[in-house]
Symmetry: C2
Subunit: 430 residues, 2 copies
């Protein structure tokens, strides 16, 4: 019989929890046998004292085992997924999953919704008319087996401990803890039954991790957990000092995703898609040159059309993106003076899109799939007073608030700023 | 509107809470408007990050104001109480309060019950036939006004925030925190409406604070809070490397208290009673020589008889201690070998008395007022194999368990140990 208070006291005093204690605790908490007031005290000790690698692996595995673990062993090949820690304009999952699947690597992708300044893959996919991300688990497995990918949302059966713990962390000041973030992400991802995982860990003004040191620590923790759990895990640290690509907003980002697969996407989102695809193919021991072929011969685009149709969506959006929802109004955000764009608060840009209706501040809010921002200028670009920096595509909601936030988010200077940081910062693991 | 999660995050990150935030939080928590799971996370940040002097004073004052604050302003003179952090055989309140009252210093004393290895003043008083520690507040004030002292238990109206917080700390690993202990003690004591407080902070194997550094930190925190709240507070650090005096157990300790007031008590408990009485008289600006007079001319003993009678007890126990409950059986605990008593685990001795029935392991247990231990040997004494170290006075319950614990608690050595540490270690404040 493990007394929860003994575990709290041990962590408080800098000691470590044993594997069997962690499994018993998470199991009891999921069943409601450990009260929230004890778990919140323990979470605070974890926040302030950290976890050893062994503790983190056991905690993650216990959360993973708190619910259903998908069995994809009937599908041949190395199943690989990608997870991003979230950024502004980060639509990479949409072109990436079909491109990698087109190369013969199965991609079982379970994604989340947007919250706060970052968008969510599910919201973007659902802006495609008819597209359903709510597929039964059997259908999801069938999609991966037949088409090579499936794109669904988290089910209630996957890692229920994480759902309960996340709600508690949200109200007890224990969200931004590297071990707790790591276990939350890794328990859900590894419950998908994948063999490998590529992590895109964002660093910068639009990321949850504002410094490279924090992002590196998170990446190392996630890679370490993957290794201890016998999975292939690689993390790329990538820059998020400005929004990714040109589009911020759900249907607008689908359009950009189609452009990427047509070979005419923005430079940065195309490069990030390819970089992540190479890493995933490498993990599955396939030649990375397959990626370039699948992009240039249109197989990636065809795979995207195939999965859209299979999940109930209208595949004609590929050839005719105007079938996607479109906002009624456009309004330019103009440069207030001559100068160089020397800094962009990407989180502020994300919040500007949110107030137009592209995102949600609380879980209950509905989103407007059509609205968002189309960016014309990037960090370091020279602008003239009155020149459009970006265009708001809106439905007459939140415009003043958005313009106010954008004015604060863009810094103009007289001198040309130093060159922007490279997109790819480092690679950890593998 | 203060969001509790903001306060948790600020403490977590090493910041400080403002006075008005602390008052609002304690008020909301007492009313049930802050959930336990948020308070427990905050308590853990306080445990691990501490409190500034200003935060601690505000937290203590907010707890004090969560309930009734006694108004003793109608009673002339400097009202002084004593509080001990708890030890084994610590019956000092019983002789001390009447002795100081006999010198003309009013002593409004609100005491607690025993829990774990330490006894409680209320349990000891209630071993006197008829004695009631449950007096209405009006009667308590009348006792202090007319007799010069009152001896009662905590009422539900005094510092209800402490009652609720203590229960939560008990199950969340946040009990042994110096700021939380300080605020708990000081809020209750200062709610008595006293002008001054003498603290007896115990150090050693029988105390909650095992090291002098911890005891000193606790003493300094309590004196600091008193100063910020405009009260006279002095702390004496005193040794608790062995049980105090000869008796451990409720009625047995009443007998020893009577002996002290008759001038024939053990050397250490007599010295401690006098030392604390001098400090209390000094605080009330009275000559300390009054204490010696009140002891030698029997006024302290008469005052004890007077308060026993006023609170419903049988004052004939003073002249005839055999009217106190007496255990049916005696059993000697014998020295297993020749040697010197080189160490005593006083906590183990307290637990031996507890298992005989003198104390309670949980709040719900009843105690047996008659049972306990009479100690014949002290630290450093030379003993012969088979010589009684102490005598168990018992009612045929827990004897084997007690003997087992005593065997572990006493260490005998061939060489004479160094001289025992002095009883009075230091004085802080005043």
């Amino acid at each position: 019989m493990i007394r929860t208070v003994d575990l709290i006291e041990r962590k408080r005093d800098g000691g470590a929890l044993r594997d069997e204690e962690i499994y018993a605790l998470i199991d009891a908490y999921t069943r409601g046998d450990v009260p929230d007031y004890q778990m919140s005290a323990l979470l605070m000790t974890i926040y302030l004292k950290g976890f050893s690698g062994a503790e983190l692996a056991a905690w993650t595995d216990a959360m993973l085992r708190s619910g259903e673990v998908l069995d994809l062993s009937s599908i041949p090949g190395v199943k690989v997924d990608k997870h991003s820690t979230g950024g502004v304009g980060d639509k990479i999952s949409l072109p990436l999953a079909p491109l990698v699947a087109a190369c013969g690597v199965p991609v079982p992708m379970v994604s989340g919704r947007g919250l706060g300044h970052t968008g969510g893959t599910l919201d973007k996919l659902e802006s495609i008319p008819g597209f359903s991300t709510q597929q039964p688990v059997e259908r999801f497995i069938e999609l991966v087996a037949t088409i090579g990918l499936g794109l669904i949302g988290q089910t209630a059966e996957i890692a229920p401990a994480d759902k309960k713990l996340y709600a508690l962390r949200d109200v007890t000041g224990t969200v931004p803890s590297i071990p707790l973030i790591t276990s939350s992400i890794m328990s859900k991802k590894l419950a998908e039954g994948i063999d490998g995982l590529v992590l895109d860990v964002k660093v910068g003004s639009g990321a949850f991790m504002k410094t490279e040191a924090d992002a590196r620590a998170l990446a190392e923790a996630m890679v370490g957990v993957g290794q201890r759990m016998g999975r292939r895990v690689v993390a790329l640290l990538t820059n998020m000092d400005q929004p990714l690509g040109r589009a911020v907003g759900n249907a607008l980002e689908v359009r950009e995703s189609i452009d990427i697969l047509k070979g005419c996407g923005p430079e940065d989102t195309t490069a990030l898609t390819l970089g992540l695809a190479y890493t995933m193919l490498d993990m599955a021991a396939k030649p990375t040159t397959d990626v370039d072929k699948a992009l240039s011969d249109g197989r990636g685009l065809a795979k995207f059309a195939e999965i859209i149709e299979a999940q109930g969506g209208d595949p004609r959006v590929i050839d005719d993106p105007n079938r996607l929802p479109t906002a009624r109004y456009k309004r330019d955000f103009l440069a207030p003076r001559d100068g160089y764009i020397s800094a962009i608060d990407a989180q502020g840009v994300g919040l500007a899109a949110l107030v137009l209706g592209a995102g949600r501040a609380t879980k209950e809010e509905d989103i407007d799939p059509a609205v968002g921002l189309m960016l014309h200028k990037r960090l370091g670009d020279k602008v003239k007073a009155g020149e459009p920096i970006l265009t708001l595509e809106h439905n007459d909601r939140g415009v003043d608030d958005a313009l106010h936030r954008l004015t604060a988010a863009y810094t103009l200077s007289d001198e040309a700023p130093p060159a922007a940081k490279p997109l790819f910062i480092d690679r950890i693991g593998g």
